[in-house]
Symmetry: C2
C-alpha cells in the first residue's frame, strides 16, 4: 500500500493506493458517521459496508444537482449529524463530488472522506479537492475546493466496473502520462494485456503514479490559478463534446485529447512521431468516439467552460510526452481548429 500525502495550507489529505477498502473501519470515528453511496455500489458492496446509516443516490450525472444536496442534507439532519459528524462517500466521481460538496457546506463544513470505486475517480476526481454539482447546462458550476481527509483506492474494486466505465478512467490515466509522466505513458503503451484484464498489482502501480503526479500539482496550486490548469488537457474540447454528444466523461476527454494533440502538432509543440504515439494509444484502447459539434455551438459550449477568461481561453497543449504547455488562445482560434479537425473516423 502506498500513502500519498497532499500538503495544502489549512488542510491535509492522504490517498491510500492499494489499500483494502474494508480497512476503512480503522480510519473512522466510532460514532456520527454516515455513508453516502449509489445504488450500484450499494448492491455490489453494501453488505460489507461499515455499520452506519447509508444514504444511496441514483447512479449517474443526473444526480449531480442541488436537489440531491438538499435531499441529503435533510437526511443528515434526520440522522442527527452535527458539526462533529463524518461523511464517508463510497462510489465514483458523482458520489464523491456530491458528498464532498455536501461535506464542505453542511453546517459550513464537516469531516469527510472517500472510498473511490471507479478508475476515473481513483486517478482523478478523488485527488485535489474539487467537488460540486451541475446547474443549467454547466458542469460543476457550483462547488468548492475542499480536501477529503483520506481517499482509499482499492484496485480490486475495479474488477466489478462495467467495461465502459473502466475505459473511461483509462483516458484520464493516459492524460496524466501525456502531460506529466512519460513512464506512466510508456507502461500504458506496453501493458495492453495487463490493463485490459485489470491486473490489480499493475493498476495499483499506475494509479499511484497518477495520484503522485496530481498531488504534486495540486499541492502547488490548489485553486487552479496556475500550474493546475494543465490538468485540463483534452478537457476544453472534451467538455464541449461531452455536453453535445452525451458521451461518458473519459470518452469525451479522449476525443478532446486527440484534437488537442493535433492542435499541439499544428502549433509545432510536438513532432509527428509524438503525435502518432499519443493518438495510437488512444485508439489501441478504442477510446475515441466520433463527434461533430455544429460550428455555431462550439463557441457556446466553450464560453460556458469555467476556464474561459475574457475573449481568450487557457488552452492546454502537450509539449512532448510527459510535458504540458498552457497558452492563452483567442476563443475564435480554438473554435476554428475544432471545425477543421473534428471527427477523423
Amino acid at each position: 500500500m502506498e500513502r500519498i500525502i497532499l500538503n495544502i495550507p489549512g488542510s491535509r489529505s492522504e490517498v491510500l493506493v492499494g489499500e483494502k477498502w474494508e480497512s476503512v473501519a480503522n480510519l473512522l470515528p466510532e460514532r456520527g458517521v454516515v455513508v453516502i453511496t449509489d445504488d450500484n455500489v450499494k448492491r455490489l458492496y453494501g453488505s460489507r459496508f461499515p455499520e452506519f446509516p447509508v444514504f444511496s443516490i441514483t447512479p449517474g450525472e443526473e444526480s449531480k444537482k442541488l436537489n440531491t444536496i438538499e435531499h441529503l442534507s435533510e437526511k443528515l439532519m434526520e440522522a442527527g449529524l452535527d458539526r462533529d459528524g463524518f461523511i464517508l462517500a463510497i462510489g465514483g466521481g458523482v458520489v464523491c463530488d456530491i458528498a464532498g460538496f455536501l461535506g464542505s457546506i453542511y453546517m459550513r463544513g464537516i469531516r469527510f472522506a472517500y472510498i473511490s470505486t471507479t478508475l476515473l475517480s481513483q486517478v482523478d476526481a478523488s485527488t485535489g479537492g474539487k467537488n460540486g454539482v451541475n446547474a443549467g447546462n454547466a458542469k460543476n458550476i457550483l462547488g468548492n475546493f475542499r480536501q477529503p481527509e483520506f481517499v482509499i483506492c482499492d484496485p480490486e474494486m475495479l474488477l466489478t466496473l462495467p467495461e465502459e466505465e473502466y475505459l473511461s478512467g483509462l483516458a484520464e490515466l493516459i492524460k496524466t502520462g501525456v502531460i506529466g509522466d512519460e513512464k506512466l505513458f510508456e507502461v500504458i503503451e506496453n501493458s495492453y494485456e495487463g490493463i485490459i484484464k485489470r491486473d490489480p498489482v499493475l493498476m495499483a502501480f499506475l494509479v499511484s503514479l497518477s495520484v503522485n503526479f496530481k498531488a504534486s500539482i495540486v499541492s502547488e496550486d490548489e485553486k487552479e490559478t496556475g500550474a493546475r490548469r494543465i490538468l485540463n488537457f483534452g478537457h476544453t474540447y472534451g467538455h464541449a463534446i461531452e455536453m453535445h454528444e452525451s458521451y461518458v466523461h473519459g470518452f469525451a476527454v479522449a476525443a478532446g485529447m486527440e484534437i488537442a494533440t493535433r492542435y499541439s502538432r499544428a502549433k509545432g509543440f510536438i513532432s509527428d512521431n509524438e503525435m502518432s504515439r499519443i493518438i495510437n494509444v488512444l485508439n489501441k484502447y478504442d477510446l475515441v468516439r466520433e463527434h461533430d459539434i455544429p460550428a455555431e455551438l462550439v463557441g457556446h459550449y466553450i464560453q460556458r467552460d469555467k476556464k474561459k477568461t475574457g475573449g481568450d481561453i487557457y488552452f492546454v497543449f502537450t509539449a512532448g510526452i510527459g510535458r504540458a504547455q498552457c497558452e492563452k488562445i483567442p476563443v475564435g482560434e480554438v473554435i476554428s481548429f475544432y471545425r477543421g479537425n473534428k471527427s477523423r473516423h
Copy 2:
C-alpha cells in the same frame, strides 16, 4: 469613515463604517460585475446603483434556499460571469447570506463584497464571513465561511428601515455590548433619544464599536471552534424561539438573551444588579416578545441547532457586562431552564 481590517489566513476583508454607499463605484472592477439585491432595496436605491446587471430577489427569509442559489447561478451564467467575475450584494442579512454563499461556490469561488443596508447586517451578518441558506427547518444549515472583499456600512441607509427591522438590529448591538464591550452597552443604556431617531453619527460610532469587537473575535477563530462561540449569546434559545414563534431574528435573540441572562444569574455568573441592567435595556427598547415553546419541542429545536455536540451543548452566559463565558451544558438542563423561565410577561 473608519476602516476595520479582518486579517484571516488566506483572505483579507475590510469593513468601511461611515462610508457613503455610492462611493462603492471606486472599489469595483470595470467589468464583470453583477449586483444582487432585493425588491425593497432596489425600489429605494436602485436608481443610484452602479451600472451593472441587477438581479433582485424577493425580500425575506423565504428566499434563503437552494432554489434561489440555483436560479441566481443561471442568471450569472447568462450574464457571462466567469472566474474573474465580481458579485456586489446590496441588502440586509438575507441578501448578503445568499450572495456570499453563491460567490463562495460559483465556479468554486469568485470575488464578492457587500453594501449592508440594515442595522442587523451592519453589526453582525456582514462581518465574519458566515453565509448560507436554510434547508428543511434548519437555518443556515448549508453554507461556507468566506470573507467578502469589503463591506460598506453607511448609517444614512438605516433611515429608510422599517421600525421593526431597525430594532431587530439593535438587539444584536446590545448582545455585543453584553458579551464584549461595556462602553457600547453604556452608550446604548444612555442614548435612547439618539438611537431611536437613528442619528447617523451616533450609529456609525456604535456600529464601529460592534464591528471592531466582532472582527477581533473572528480574526482569532474564523471557523467557530472556540472564541467565536460567544457571539451566539442569546442564540440557542433565540433560534428555537425564532423557529417556533416566527419572530424576526433580533426579537427572538432579545428574548433568548433575556432567558440567557436569567440563566447566568441562576449560575451565579452575574449579580442581580447586572441582570437588571441587561433586562432593563432590552425592555427600554421594547425588544422582548412573549414566547412559549411546549416542553416536548424545545429539545427538538435545540437538537437541530448547529452548536450542539453530542448530549451537551455549548451555552453562552454573560459573566458581567462586557464579558462572556461559554460552558458545555447538558441539553436536558438547557431545556429545563427554558421551561421554568419562558415568557415573563
